[in-house]
Amino acid sequence: MDTLWIGVIGTSVIAYALKFAGHSVPEKFLSHPLIKRINLLIPIALLSALVAVQSVTTKSAIVIDHRLAGLGAAILALFFKAPFPIVVLSAAITSAAVYNFF
């Protein structure tokens, strides 16, 4: 089995296990304020890291290319409170334009 399949199955199994566990544990077990706060902060850190890695790195090198232009467009769209599909679309169009015409 290759990396992709292990990723698909492993992610799915653990994702479901986490969901089901939540429905099965006593409420006070996870409602500690510190756990709640860290739970809000972890997605922020991981998603920000993913934004960074996906826009300016390729394998193990820092690479500045068309993707950064796309990210700039996405930031602009978010500043104007654009909905999610517009954010993604403006990034894609800008990046594709830079890739194809420069």
Binding site: T3, W5, I6, G7, G10, T11, S12, I14, A15, Y16, L18, K19, F20, A21, G22, H23, S24, V25, E27, S31, P33, I35, I38, N39, L41, I42, P43, I44, A45, L46, L47, S48, A49, L50, V51, A52, V53, Q54, S55, V56, T57, T58, K59, S60, A61, R67, G70, A73, A74, L78, F84, P85, V87, V88, S90, A91, A92, S95, A96, Y99
Partner: protein, 222 residues
């Protein structure tokens, strides 16, 4: 057809449609990152949690191993467990119903349900089930459309798909940045991930930022 007119039904349907449509971005991104159409669809059917799905395709697509991808995705999936803790006392379901309820316990079903609080507990349950099933149906249909579309397109860069992935992550994190601590954490994590990429094995620069988040959470508690 009084149900159709119910505000809970309308809330659920509008959330299901808008969020489900993001599935196009996921399907396209998954294929652009080397996953097959089948694998992309299975992720939406079985993992059924947007941020985790984007994470696993993002990490593995960037050259990370399966373990790095699964770990990042699972750290993002912890919050669904916490939603379950909130929803269980409202839903009060056992057996097969609980097995199904767990699968559709995500940001949107929990969010809509909690937003119905003023309309009573039965509206909260209705919001949870309608939104959960609604997002599930649209998310999976749109994933298939996105994956097939991306497969037909060929070179992902020529269509801007390689920029669509970080933009999707940005769209997911943006609404979460509510105060200075959040924004500072986001910037710190981004800088850490970029700076360590040349030195750490792929995936670790991302997972490592979870530690930064924990430190930030503990420090704020003091």
């Amino acid at each position: 057809m009084s149900r159709v007119a119910s505000p809970t039904f309308r809330d659920s349907l509008s959330v299901s449609l808008t969020v489900g449509a993001y599935g196009v971005a996921f399907g396209a991104a998954a294929v652009a990152n080397g996953f097959s159409v089948l694998q992309s669809c299975l992720l939406s059917l079985l993992t059924f949690s947007g941020a985790s799905q984007f994470a696993v395709i993002g990490v593995i697509g960037a050259g990370g191993g399966a373990i790095s991808g699964i770990t990042t995705a699972s750290l993002l999936g912890i919050r669904n467990g916490l939603y379950g803790v909130l929803m269980a006392p409202i839903l009060k379901v056992r057996g097969l119903k609980r097995v199904v309820a767990a699968h559709i316990t995500i940001d949107e079903s929990t969010g809509v349900s909690l937003s119905q609080e003023s309309r009573g507990e039965s509206a909260m349950r209705e919001g949870f089930w309608l939104t959960g099933f609604g997002v599930f149906i649209f998310w999976n249909l749109f994933t298939l459309a996105g994956a097939l579309g991306a497969k037909a397109m060929g070179n992902p860069s020529a269509w801007g798909l390689d920029a669509a992935v970080p933009a999707a992550f940005l769209g997911l994190v943006w609404p979460r940045l509510k105060n200075t601590t959040d924004k500072f954490l986001a910037l710190t994590a981004a800088v850490f991930a970029i700076v360590t990429t040349p030195y750490l094995p792929a995936g670790l620069p991302i997972i490592g930022t979870a530690v930064i988040a924990i430190i930030a959470g503990v420090r704020k508690a003091k």
